[in-house]
Amino acid sequence: MSEATRLSHGKVRPGLIVTWTVLFIGGLIMVSPLAFMFSTSLKTADQIYDLRLIPAAPTLANYIAVLADGRFMRWFFNSTLIAVIVTVSNCFFDSLVGYTLAKFEFRGRYFIFLAILSTLMIPTEMLVIPWYLMSSQLGWLDSYWGIMFPGMMTAFGTFLMKQFFETVPNDFIEAARVDGLNEFQIWWKVALPLVTPALSALAIFTFLGNWTAFFWPLIVTTSKELYTLPVGLSSFAVEQSIQWEMIMTGAAIATLPTLLVFLVLQRYIVRGVMLAGLKG
């Protein structure tokens, strides 16, 4: 509202209108791949050469065909399950460790902090071969656990949560101790509610990272039933070869959930990215 009134007050320089228009057109170009993906997913095979963004005769037939196949449902389920479990695990362990490192003094605290932080230097690509070996020896290949185990805790999340727990006043914790809460209850009931912005940022990042993860799931899964959505989509697209409307439907199914979540939580997500980007 205030934005609109500022414009109508007539204090706007013409330069700003040009800036706004250029930025707006640039923004439309940025979302055009998404727009054309959704548009084509609503077209039949003989319409895909038609460049109009709004399909002449929109149809959900592609979605019905793709979902009736059953595999996409399974991959969707796999991806959701994995992303949710890993996110919950990170929110629990990263914040517990971050809290312990921020709010307790004990021998070895600094060493443990540095050790965890140093793992940020190690790229996943370097670990996949040992992980693959470990998984094949322990029978974790081609299993949900095999896909999930490398990401159950992260140094990034621990570091982020530690930074935020440091801002929690010690008086609160001492007061809770006096009230007779044990240390776990103090973390869970007193400290954790005070850092929900950081926790939601961590949850968003972890979920997004696992939902879009491709490299490790591609390596560790061999049976199609255990593919995650990105890996499944990749194999599906290769199979469809030139049926672009089907490939776009698959891509749309893989993209839709994160976009919908964004539309609902835009403010929190942007703030979370800023938080994590500046503190991390």
Binding site: E3, T19, W20, F24, G27, L28, M30, V31, L34, F36, M37, Y49, L51, F93, L96, V97, T100, F104, E105, R107, I112, A115, I116, T119, M121, P123, M126, L127, I129, P130, W131, Y132, L133, F149, M152, M153, F184, T212, F214, F215, I219, L229, P230, V231, L233, S234, A237, V238, W244, I247, M248, G250, A251, T255, L259, F262, V270, M274, G277, L278
Partner: protein, 317 residues
């Protein structure tokens, strides 16, 4: 938290503080330490088994000829020598650094320009910001296919269709050894731009308004303000994004793999980055030792980039 440390000192000299208060405090301290280590037990186990042990194992494997079938045999630096003599490696090395050296400056300049102007726009600000940010939330593997479709020859590929309407000659894009790498790079820049814009905007917001006011009073023009105030004060943000973006390009995989499935890294290896070479060496050829040596090279490159960041940030602070 300081309290525990004092108690720690107290417990170091038994009998120092007499009476029941010592016993109580000692047991409280012990109890708290039990909590600490029970909070940390599982994470320590995790980091030891899932992060540290595999790191050392990767170094070890890089000195072996392990191929999944026969037991690993120590072969010294043979993998590294083989790698540095392999012309394919140098091609991949060149590709990887082309992604980095061309992609990072382009994406940062574009992201900064958009952030700089978007920061001044109030009308529909969050809507326009959302337009730029949305691609960051997409799945790279999925969007690689969308872009692959865009790059098709006419009449399927939209870009060539638009070129046709504008009278621009048709382009082969991902089918050409000259254009494929840059076509894939555009996809990667597109996906990462939203994140960089948001971070740049956060950095711009953090610059105190008084700096600008002072500069205007001194009679500095827009361009001078940008050069003398905005950019220098934005340096930590810029350095962070340069490193973040560089690491992203050095590890590029999802887009290349999905846009070149007929001939991964093709045509003729012209788009193949280091991570794709690692993937193929390890999981198509099962030359695990050789692949491990390649991962160590990747690690070294990433380490140098990160250390460079620390060094640049420390230099002028």
């Amino acid at each position: 938290m300081a309290a525990i440390e004092q108690q720690g000192a107290a417990s170091g000299r038994p009998g120092g503080s007499p009476g029941t208060s010592f016993g109580d405090r000692f047991s409280m301290r012990t109890r708290r330490l039990v909590w600490v280590w029970s909070f940390l037990a599982l994470p320590i186990l995790f980091y030891a088994i899932i992060r540290f042990y595999p790191t050392f194992q990767a170094f070890y494997l890089s000195f072996t000829n392990w191929d999944l079938l026969r037991p690993a045999k120590f072969i010294g630096f043979a993998n590294y020598i083989k790698l540095f003599k392999d012309p394919q490696f140098w091609k991949v090395f060149k590709n990887t650094f082309t992604y980095l050296i061309v992609g990072t400056p382009i994406s940062l300049v574009v992201a900064f320009t958009i952030a700089f102007f978007l920061d001044r726009v109030r009308f529909m600000h969050s809507f326009i910001r959302a337009l730029y940010f949305l691609p960051f939330l997409t799945t790279a593997a999925a969007m690689a296919w969308v872009w692959r479709w865009f790059y098709q020859p006419p009449p399927i590929g939209i870009i060539n269709d638009v070129f046709g309407m504008l009278g621009i000659p048709q382009q082969p894009f991902i089918r050409s050894t000259d254009q494929a790498l840059f076509s894939i790079m555009v996809t990667a820049i597109w996906a990462g731009l939203g994140f960089q814009i948001i971070i740049f905007m956060a950095g711009l917001r953090a610059i105190p308004g008084t700096f600008y006011e002072a500069a205007r009073i001194d009679g500095l023009g827009e361009w001078a303000i940008l050069r003398k105030i905005t950019l220098p004060l934005l340096k930590p943000t810029t350095v962070f994004l340069v490193v973040f973006s560089s690491i992203g390009f050095l590890r590029i995989f999802d887009q290349v793999y999905n846009m070149t499935t007929n001939d991964p890294g093709g045509p003729l290896g012209s788009t193949k980055p280091l991570v794709l070479m690692i993937y193929q060496t390890a999981f198509n050829s099962y030359a695990m030792g050789y692949a491990a040596a390649q991962t160590v090279v990747l690690f070294t490159i990433l380490l140098i980039v990160s250390l460079l960041q620390l060094w640049i940030l420390r230099e002028k602070k």
